[in-house]
Amino acid sequence: MSSTPSDDTETVHSDDDPAVASVRPEAGMADPSEAERVTPDLDDEETATMRVFRYDPDVPERAEPHYDEFVIPTHEGMTVLDALIYARDTYDSSLTFRHSCQQAVCGSDALFVQGAQRLACRTQLSALGDPIQIDPLPHKPVEKDLVVDMSDFYDQMEAIEPYFDPDETPADDLEEQRQSPENREKIKLSTRCIQCGACQSSCNVAAGDNEYLGPAAINKAYRFVMDEREGAERRKTRLEIVEDEHGVWRCQTQFSCTDVCPKDIPLTEHIQALKREGVKDDLKFWE
């Protein structure tokens, strides 16, 4: 759909359309905290144009996928998520997208912005050209507008049993289970994952095989396999899970996941490390 012809595009705001006055923002209407910045006359403002993917199976006029354009008054530090919220609150309350924390922590607003998977709340408008094309995450069925079905992603995360599971726990419930600083350092980056799904959406192998564990789940497995506090038995079962036919060996080192991860997790590196652990383990036939 990225090449949808422009005649499919419905311009929501246009200067020569008299009806547009009704969708022009009143001062302070979009975001009260930005009241001074939002003025009724967009001509005097810096603006950005967003081209947003729209699809709503429940509304006949929007059941055919198309793009809507929104002209947004911008300000310094404005993110794609700010712009989407502005568009929704000011022009079209039916515009649907996920978001929560607005600070790159919840991972709910991963979108395909200007040709790459990015967190809308972390992406500055000033870093993008104009118009800004916004699509839902690729390789996932679209439920409505920018909202995709994430079930495969969550199933894959679940498949690696993402819970800390040491063989032995201290007799005293209050006793800490300490980890060496070196070991912590080793898994540090892998613990940063916010489960946004950007990596999985960027991966062609995951797109072709929805059972492939995918970068995020394998990274989560790495987090536990490398944790010195889990026992040898658990490590073995974890390696068995990632060595499944839909596991680490599916990775074809495209590096797309590593390129898009908003938390800069070296995903390909972690996947390769688990491949090596698997091989080393299989070579120890005497055990």
Partner: protein, 131 residues
């Protein structure tokens, strides 16, 4: 939940402009691999003319070498093989966890070296083989 919209493969292919180095390397590696497999069968077919006797073999090879197009294709074949080998080494390093943060640079180096070798081979291949 109501119907959902599956954007399909066609749309995916339309994103080629957004590919990054690793993605191009993956694509080229696949394509060159398939070309080499295809070539291998052609190669066996040509060589097997030897079973029909010396003269048939010499005529077939001489005939093919006489065609300018074939000599151009040989330059292409060399480029394909060189890229596949160099990227194979790059992948080996990636597998071993060596220089993962320089994987993009390694891809560009592979492309440049492939280009240089292919260009350097042009005089030899285009001159053809005199039997």
């Amino acid at each position: 939940m109501s119907a959902s919209y599956d954007r399909g493969t066609i749309e995916d292919l339309g994103r080629w402009r957004e590919f990054s180095a690793g993605m191009w390397a993956w694509l080229f590696h696949k394509v060159t691999g398939w070309i080499l497999i295809g070539y291998l069968f052609t190669h066996i077919a040509v060589l097997s003319t030897a079973m029909s006797g010396e003269s048939v073999y010499n005529e077939t090879l001489g005939g093919l070498e006489g065609l300018l197009l074939v000599r151009f294709l040989e330059v292409g074949l060399l480029a394909v093989a060189v890229f596949h080998i160099l990227n194979g080494v790059r992948l080996l390093l990636v597998d071993l966890g060596v220089g993962l943060d320089r994987q993009a640079a390694a891809f560009y180096v592979a492309l440049v070296v492939t280009g240089l070798i292919a260009i350097a081979s042009v005089p030899t291949f285009l001159a053809g083989v005199t039997l």
